[in-house]
């Protein structure tokens, strides 16, 4: 028996994807010979070295939405590269990890090719990407299982389920080939992810992924995280700190990227972690440890100036889902911080040199021409935040409505008219001027104003592809 675990492209990242490393350690602990590597990064490296920027864009487009007019031999080459890398290890079992829906088409063709080349290999897929559907009504796992392209799909905590499944510990395992699954009770004192099969020379950003929590303490109306993680779970500060030190000792890596929805969901444990890191960094000026993570802004009563000082000792970039610069829109979203809180946090970050990456959604259900104008004005009035602390502003495309979210459930009440049932970006509001065309204009106007004010504007390629699709 030999298990191979790999991440499935295409995820635009310069950092290692953590899932294979985390799964490996659990499987090795269960006595399963396992290789785990970041196929996504190896593939990105291959594609970047072989194809032009235009070809890469077209390939990504294909793997995003099966778009036509793309050189088929290049697609085949990409699939074959991945399949060859997997089969090189002669596995008996293959577990493919999908971070998001942008891996679905790739996964489908990798599984197809693997099944042809070796029908006896047991194929398992898992990860949030299996279940965040873009267009299909069924999840990818159910679809591929029905087509006999895979043997199993796993929903939920694969780190527990995968070894049980490989070793066939039980006849029926919760979360295997079904949507019901049980979240693990305790994230503390688990073995740490094993990155030993990763090629660290491929990463521009040499960092290690960390899980400090699962789930989220907020219930933002547009987010479906609670569909995946029913309850919020966290690790204590000491346990996380131990892991950071352990990786640093084993790999020399000093930068860590939290894969959590937010690092400071449990504020008490977060403060403990910050204190430990601050002490470590003060005591080890030549081997300081740093992290970046999603982060939530909180009122001054919850994050004091001393807390910001501690954070500044180790934080590299805080990615903050501000999502709207309009307080009323933000409150409707379920974000619980006022404009005053937001400016306090920005000011503290500027004062203590903490970089912030701001995430914004354009065209929320309560957005109007007025909120669009206010947002445009905000950039101009807050130029002083350019680079200190706002290092980047990321417009995550226009609002897409996902099944399993509050706005999806309240669509009638909110007057939302959906165009399709799955992650709909083409929705409109009844009798109101909030349509896909208007949202695209707001997106353009806001990003232009943001750039004009001097902010660094970033956007993921898949958002561009989505918007291109909306324009057609």
């Amino acid at each position: 028996m030999k298990l191979l675990i790999a991440s499935v492209p295409w995820t635009d990242t310069q950092s290692p994807l953590m899932a294979p490393a985390l799964l490996k350690t659990m499987c090795v602990n269960a006595g399963i010979p396992t290789v785990a590597f970041d196929l996504n990064q190896e593939f990105l490296h291959y594609v970047r070295s072989k194809y032009s920027i235009e070809e890469q864009k077209n390939l990504q487009k294909f793997f995003y939405n099966s778009s036509k007019n793309i050189e088929r031999s290049q697609i085949k080459d990409c699939i074959n590269f991945c399949v060859d890398r997997i089969l090189f290890h002669n596995p008996t079992h293959i577990a493919l990890s999908l971070l998001s829906y942008t891996s679905q088409i790739f996964c489908e063709w990798i599984c197809f090719k693997l099944k042809i080349l070796n029908p006896n290999i047991k194929l398992i897929i898992g990860g949030a990407g299996v279940f965040s559907t873009l267009e299909s009504k069924n999840n990818l796992g159910e679809k591929l299982l029905k087509e006999k392209q895979i043997n199993y799909f796993i929903k939920g905590d694969g780190d527990i389920t995968l070894p049980e499944l490989i070793l066939k510990k039980h006849h029926k395992i919760k979360g295997v080939n079904e949507s019901n699954w049980q979240q693990v009770d305790n994230l503390n004192n688990q073995p740490f992810p094993d990155y030993s099969d990763y090629k660290f020379n491929l990463y521009k950003k040499k960092s290690i992924g960390i899980v400090g929590s699962r789930g989220c303490v907020r219930r933002c109306t547009f987010c479906d995280i609670h569909e995946h993680w029913k309850k919020y779970q966290w690790r204590n500060g000491e346990d996380i700190f131990k892991e950071l030190v352990w990786h640093n000792k084993n790999t020399g890596i000093r930068k860590f990227k939290f894969n959590d929805s937010l690092i400071n969901g449990n504020h008490i444990e977060f403060k403990k972690l910050m204190k430990l890191l601050a002490e470590h960094n003060d005591a080890n000026p030549t081997n300081t440890l740093h992290w970046s993570s999603f982060f939530i802004f909180r009122p001054q009563s919850q994050i004091t100036e001393q807390d910001w000082i501690d954070i500044s000792k180790s934080a590299e970039i805080l990615t903050v889902g501000i999502e709207s610069l309009d307080q009323d829109v933000r409150f409707h979203m379920g974000k619980k911080f006022t404009n005053k809180d937001m400016h306090y946090c920005f000011d503290m970050c500027a004062k203590y040199k903490i970089k912030v990456n701001v995430l914004l959604i354009v065209g929320y259900v309560t957005d109007t021409e007025l909120t669009n104008r206010n947002t445009i004005r905000w950039f101009d009035q807050n130029k002083h935040y350019v680079n200190a602390p706002i290092f980047g502003v990321s417009f995550g495309g226009t609002l897409g409505i996902l099944p399993g979210t509050e706005i999806y459930r309240k669509q009638k009440e909110l007057g939302i008219v959906l165009n399709n049932e799955q992650f709909d970006h083409n929705w409109s509001l009844k009798n109101q001027n909030n349509t896909p065309t208007i949202r695209l204009r707001w997106h353009r106007e806001q990003s232009d104003a943001c750039k004009k004010a001097g902010f660094n504007v970033t956007s993921l390629v898949d958002n561009f592809l989505l918007m291109e699709q909306m324009m057609q």
């Binding site: 099966s66 036509k68 088929r72 697609i75 085949k76 699939i79 063709w109 197809f112 090719k113 099944k115 042809i116 087509e147 006999k148 392209q149």
Partner: protein, 138 residues
């Protein structure tokens, strides 16, 4: 490469006679149909070319038209409903457009519904089934 066809047959004074030949014009299937939906499984090497030879239809006798409504009420015909290549289905919309039947009197009909004697050629100029799938995405 394994191909599985799901073929719907409509009977009218018997069924169409279908013969499937490969690129060397060797008969590789001669399915015996029953009314309704039939499976036809093939195993072939790529690249290849399939020739579907249709015969046995008398066009005067084997298409029955309602004299009042002028609608066809019974017709000897075949329809390719589904194709699975190495276990994976081709897109249905694509199947509807991918075949051209050349009738005995040299007319060309682009459809997966075959109601005339003649021949359908399906060129499989691929090195593997992945290529075939990628070439036939909707």
């Amino acid at each position: 490469m394994k191909i599985k066809f799901k073929i719907k047959t409509n009977e009218c004074n018997g069924f169409f006679v279908l013969k499937i030949l490969d690129k060397d014009m060797k008969t590789i299937a001669n399915p015996k149909f029953r009314n309704g939906i039939n499976d036809c499984n093939l195993e072939l090497l790529l690249p290849n070319c399939l020739h579907f030879h249709l015969s046995g239809k008398n066009h005067k006798r084997d298409t029955i038209v309602d004299p009042i409504s002028k609608k066809i009420i019974k017709d000897k015909s075949l329809q390719i409903l589904d194709i699975e290549v190495d276990g994976k289905r081709l897109n249905k919309n694509r199947i509807a457009k991918m075949f051209t039947l050349e009738t005995e009197d040299k007319n060309k009909i682009n459809s997966a519904y075959w109601g005339f004697n003649g021949c359908v050629k399906w060129s499989l100029d691929y090195t593997d089934s992945l290529e075939l799938h990628l070439d036939n995405l909707e």
